[in-house]
Subunit: 479 residues, 2 copies
């Protein structure tokens, strides 16, 4: 096995730790030769494939169908929605040459697809009978970012983007919140990452939309991560691209649109929610490897005996739908344990000559300290049950951390002290003024992550300026 | 339902027919605003998703893992392999601006990924223990083509590209042929499209490779379609990107590489292999819709009765894993039949009041003329069996056509007459000279599709120049 450089502890340097976990888990690496881009290696891509499968099932179950639109968008399209072009212009990659010739109209590589899809919706939608139109796309996206971090912010990334058109604002808003719920359900029940659903302030909303909603997770360093967004686009793109339909009364109206997306950034969130100083920890529903079976032997006879039982166990576990690796390489067991911990295998099984005598095996879950000895006959059921338990335990652990890291803070001094220290979510009153919000960001780099849905109404004073406030909002440092 | 313009008959204008089937089946449309690009609509994308699922399973079962590499490739990378850059230069889209600034090094949008993957292989491969490296990527590709046709040739398309590295040429060649077999198996057993496996002549091989292999199908107009390729890259890219490994003897060697791919072009092949003048015909393994259940009624009582039985049948069929639509819209049954024929539903079930009395239903398979009446109690089993039968029948029908359209031709006059007429595969002697091959192409637009694998050795005279030949090759007009 290749030698491995150590993983920086979280407490020492969280950003270094993050990169080390990704390297040690063989998830990805920076492309370097392509600015801000990354290579998603097989271990990382396996997680993305599981994310895709789970999300795609949910997106289809809510009535959407997948389609594929051109990646190149005529530059003029972006200019049709004033706020949209202003928001995305600084981040565009532009194709100016095609087939050896300077192009007459330049193309931008999609930074998001509202404009090109708006163009086609205008062709496809004539009548209220064509509505709702419920489309989703899995695609690569390019945004020329200055500061990049693997998975969290890269110049090219993979995502899904839902785009829908409806006859009424009531209906489109229902869609926006329904997909936000789909994302929250996915984050919590598949990624084991607790999230807050909320509304973005005006300064943080999608460029060109009316209102944006989000799910926000809390990473182990006390920073928040926006893990998914769902946008109420109102009639803005309908007007920009002339997407009209004839309503039941025979009148022509602009459609009401939504868009919503999650990306490979989720893998960054997964890493920062669960992993530890030994490397990747992955909830079983997304793990590339569930169980590694390791025979322990000192001679050929022991090898033959432990491998025979090990192979049988591998087959039995595969039969339960688990992803299982049989690691009988000629290496020290300790080196193997170390490697599979880094790669985020959910559990390992050790089978040595003594285990054979006792008709049991050693079982070590990645997220627990202690090793158990399990009777062979109960082995498969035990492993399956432990995978379910691990999924729940990871969520509960992350939720406990998130809850303990969420504080009601009412003074500016306490706010600054908390945000300079352990961070976390600060639930504070805010006056509602974007200028005040901007001042907080300038002073502390802290932003309003969201106004939580179903927030309790409560009178108070803005944590920064002291003006009247009717409810608390969530502040945090964020990726 | 929207009014539908008619489908041009195949005999009248095959290219028009092809476009009409795609439009009527709602599979795709030309993007127009993006040169040479297309939008893959939900019905078309559903076919692509099934292709992906089936192929991905086979690619994984042969030991490959998926990964994702940057879409942008430094322009200098292409120049490292002289033949490669010469082959692809005319087709490149170039990004010259990023984040509002002129780029120092321009990027091309990948026309294929040998170069960028070669760069990373050089970082990842040190020792023979790192081999074989077996990677696959699902991605979008851009080639600036002058003449485009939906699915068959578009400026942007979707594909999978396998890239592997091996310690010996023997091993890499085995991989090339193994993946060619995977493609042939997929084409015949999933797409129901018979194919010939063969070797490309030097003039038709991949730019930068040593030898290319292909599968070739025959479309209903007598033109061939290259449906998949598998390339022996030798050590060409290994040398260009310095991909070396230490062999078991401790010496440094260049790796032997392969690449292989199939694309959304397969959907074009599917359309042209099976569809007819009424629209799309799709083999059950790839069909977006297996069965449409249509209740027939003249009044509310009949509606209630037929719908009840219809809905039960829908649930039963879904329980068998079939994709089923219940079409109880207020439209004439004839209009519904017409629509679902165009959309390529494999079968329809009609349930009217008389059928209820007789405890049977009417069953019409898309590819057969006659309607059957099936006892209700045997209904589900019958439908399932008919789906299997249809899959086989479509293949046999296409194979019969292909076999009858493959002719041994020994004179230039007969060759020209055949190729000016019904086309098909012409199995002819060829002298082996690229200049002679080029002359045939110039005179008749006919190319050598392949030298079939396992070809019988047979002495003869070149169909064009009369020189000596040791075997026959397959000529055809091709997409």
């Amino acid at each position: 096995m290749a030698e491995q450089s150590p993983i920086t502890p979280r407490a020492k340097d969280f950003p270094e730790w993050y990169q080390d976990v990704i390297r040690a888990g063989d998830l990805a690496e920076p492309a370097i030769v392509v600015k801000g881009a990354m290579v998603i290696k097989p271990n990382g891509y396996a997680i993305w494939e599981k994310i895709q499968r789970e999300l795609d099932d949910r997106i289809k179950a809510t009535g959407h169908r997948n389609a594929y639109f051109p990646m190149f968008i005529p530059e003029s399209f972006l200019k049709k929605e004033a706020e949209h072009v202003e928001g995305f212009s600084p981040e565009l990659a532009v194709v100016t040459i095609g087939g050896g010739k300077e192009l007459e109209e330049r193309y931008v590589v999609r930074p998001t697809s509202e404009t090109i899809i708006g163009h086609f919706f205008a062709k496809w939608i004539q009548s209220h009978r064509d509505l709702p139109m419920l489309i989703n796309q899995w695609a690569n996206i390019v945004r020329w970012e200055l500061r990049t971090r693997m998975f969290l912010r890269t110049s090219e990334f993979l995502w899904q983007e839902g785009h829908t058109a409806h006859a009424t604002h009531e209906e489109s808003l229902k869609e926006v919140l329904r997909m936000l719920d789909v994302y929250a359900d996915f984050a919590e029940n598949v990624m084991a990452m607790p999230v807050i659903r909320g509304e973005k302030t005006a300064s943080e909303k999608f460029a060109g939309g009316v209102k944006s909603y989000c799910i926000e997770g809390l990473m182990q360093n006390g920073w928040a991560l926006q893990a998914g967004t769902s946008h109420d686009l109102g009639q803005n793109f309908g007007k920009a691209f002339d997407v009209k339909f004839q309503n039941m009364a025979g009148q022509s109206e602009y459609v009401w649109q939504t868009s919503w997306g999650v990306s490979t950034r989720l893998i960054g969130g997964l890493v920062m929610t669960h992993s530890d100083d030994a490397g990747l920890v992955c909830p079983p529903k997304l793990a590339p490897y569930h169980v590694v079976v390791i025979p322990i032997f000192k001679n050929d006879a022991e090898r033959a005996a432990t491998e025979e039982v090990g192979r049988r166990m591998v087959e039995d576990l595969k039969g339960k739908g688990l992803s299982v690796v049989f690691d009988n390489r000629d290496e020290r067991p300790g080196a193997k344990y170390f490697e599979w911990e880094r790669k985020g295998a959910c559990a390992r099984i050790e089978i040595g000559p003594k285990d054979l005598e006792k008709k049991s095996f050693a079982f070590k879950r990645r997220d627990l300290e202690k090793k158990e000895f399990v009777p062979m006959e109960k082995g498969v059921d035990h492993v399956v049950a432990q995978m379910e338990a691990m999924q729940k335990d990871l969520f509960n652990k992350a939720k406990k951390f998130r809850d303990e890291s969420t504080r009601r803070i009412d003074t500016w001094d306490a706010f600054k002290a908390q945000m300079d220290g352990a961070g976390g979510f600060a639930s504070c009153h805010w006056c509602g003024d974007g200028a005040c919000e901007g001042q907080v960001k300038e002073d502390t780099k802290v932003t309003i992550r969201c106004i939580p849905l179903g927030n309790a109404k409560e009178a108070g004073k803005c944590v920064r300026c002291g003006r009247e406030s009717g409810e608390r909002v969530l502040f945090a440092r964020a990726y």
